[in-house]
Amino acid sequence: MKSVIPREVESLWTLFTAPTVWAIHFLGCYAAVAVYCAKAASLDFGFAVVRLALGGLTVLALMAIVLSAYLAWRQWGFGSGDPPHDEPTRRDRTLFQGFATLLLSGLSFVAVVYAAIPLIFIAECQR
């Protein structure tokens, strides 16, 4: 069966996937709320719409990070070998990258959840 996800990823860019998703989510949340609150008087919809949209963005971001974590876990051999993977070989380099990506994905997951917590508690724009 042909997999949608590539069997092997050789690029270093996979390492940055999860932090990039976090950065986009962070900027998206702050920019959306700031722009909405600045223009609220001239807009037809309430803050609930912004809250819902950003909730959707949060779910998408978390899904992207989980996918990144899964690929990293696979690259790490599903935990078959223990770190530190510091031999000067192609295999160790791949395993190290997989492990580092997995850790970064975990960190990014938590960061996205933390950035989304105020969405639950924000009552409305103050003006």
Partner: protein, 345 residues
């Protein structure tokens, strides 16, 4: 101590007695006394005098207790690890690191963050326009506070400096501004701080739930005399506050001789006294200066000698102050002006 003598949040004396019985000895007593001396007084976030400050203190104690529990658990684990002879596998150690070093802290921080964010509206209440009865505009300037009381239409009723009066039990809505650099308005006993940024007006609502005199400070470094930029907040009964607002708009009696010396030496070019020819707007308004409890933005006691000293050499008290020194004036003139200001109502 506050006006009613209460300080329920923290009781230094109890803790000192406790340590005196313990084996830590006199050094512990000294340490406790020093570290807890900030738990009460007119300038303590741990001795709240209003609902906003109470929430801040509550947040502090929740975070403190959570921190103590986590710290104790870590130290207990450290002691256990150093004394236990049993050898654990690397896999077990890895599991402990994963759970205690990553997963549990993330969950605990999530809970504390949620609590902090949930508390935020109470810490920083928002007063709708129609409920902003007591509006006070405060402008931070190097190194003093220009205070203007506004009427319902937003017009200035009168101006004063370095002292704010608010009614007990009623929210006061502050409009915070700055003209030179960034300052920050902070009355620890009444609430959290709010920055004063040139070109912006930041709103802050504070309420005192008991009468008293509370100290406020500038909480953002603003220059040489940043640490000497303080003010007082007097929380008085609503009736007394209303009477004071009316009374302050009517010029009180002036000592003619003192006023003449004040004007002759050009003080009125920078300072204003309502009902007189002194109408300068550069320095602090001096109307009812005699009612203030302190001098030079909470820096000196309000005595005639200190007023004379400050007029002569303000730079010696407040480095970087914009007021030039007047030590070259005849001594009698300085004394007369100091006496005039001390009694100015």
């Amino acid at each position: 101590m506050m006006a009613d003598g209460s300080s329920d949040v923290c009781r230094p004396r109890d803790l000192i007695l406790w340590t005196s019985r313990s084996r830590f000895g006199s050094s512990s007593i000294l340490f406790s006394a020093l570290s807890l001396s900030g738990c009460s007084g007119p300038h303590s976030a741990l001795d709240p005098a209003g609902p906003e400050a109470s929430h801040v203190a509550h947040l502090f104690f929740v975070m403190l207790i959570a921190g103590i529990i986590i710290w104790s658990a870590v130290v207990a684990a450290l002691i256990y690890a150093s004394r236990k002879k049993r050898v654990y596998s690397e896999q077990s150690a890895g599991r402990v690191i994963l759970w205690c070093g990553a997963i549990l802290p993330a969950i605990i921080l999530c809970a504390l963050l949620s609590y902090g964010v949930w508390l935020m509206p109470a810490v920083r209440p928002w007063l709708p326009d129609d409920q902003q009865v007591h509006r006070i505009e405060v402008t931070g300037e190097q190194f003093w506070w220009r205070v203007r009381y506004l009427d319902e239409a937003g017009e200035v009723m009168f101006e004063t400096a370095n002292e704010v009066r608010i009614p007990v039990g009623q929210p006061a809505h502050f409009l915070l501004k700055a003209v030179d650099v960034i300052h920050s308005f902070w009355v620890p006993s009444l609430g959290g701080k709010m920055d004063m940024i040139p070109g912006r007006t930041n709103p802050l609502t504070l309420m005192a739930d008991r009468e008293g005199i509370y100290r406020g400070v500038c909480a953002e470094f603003c220059g040489q005399s940043h640490a000497l930029m303080a003010f007082t907040v007097r929380a008085v009964a609503p009736d007394e506050h209303e009477a004071w607002l009316v009374e302050r708009q009517v010029p009180g009696p002036r000592d003619a001789e003192g006023l003449a010396v004040f004007l002759k030496n050009g003080c009125g070019a920078c300072h204003a006294i309502s009902g007189t020819a002194a109408a300068g707007r550069i320095g602090p308004e001096l109307t009812a200066f005699g009612e203030r409890g302190t001098l030079a933005a909470g820096t000196l006691p309000h005595t005639q000698e200190d007023i004379a000293r400050f007029i002569s050499y303000p730079e010696r008290t407040k480095p970087g102050v914009k007021m030039p020194h007047f030590g070259m004036l005849p001594e009698d003139d300085i004394k007369t002006i100091a006496a005039f200001l001390k009694e100015l109502k």
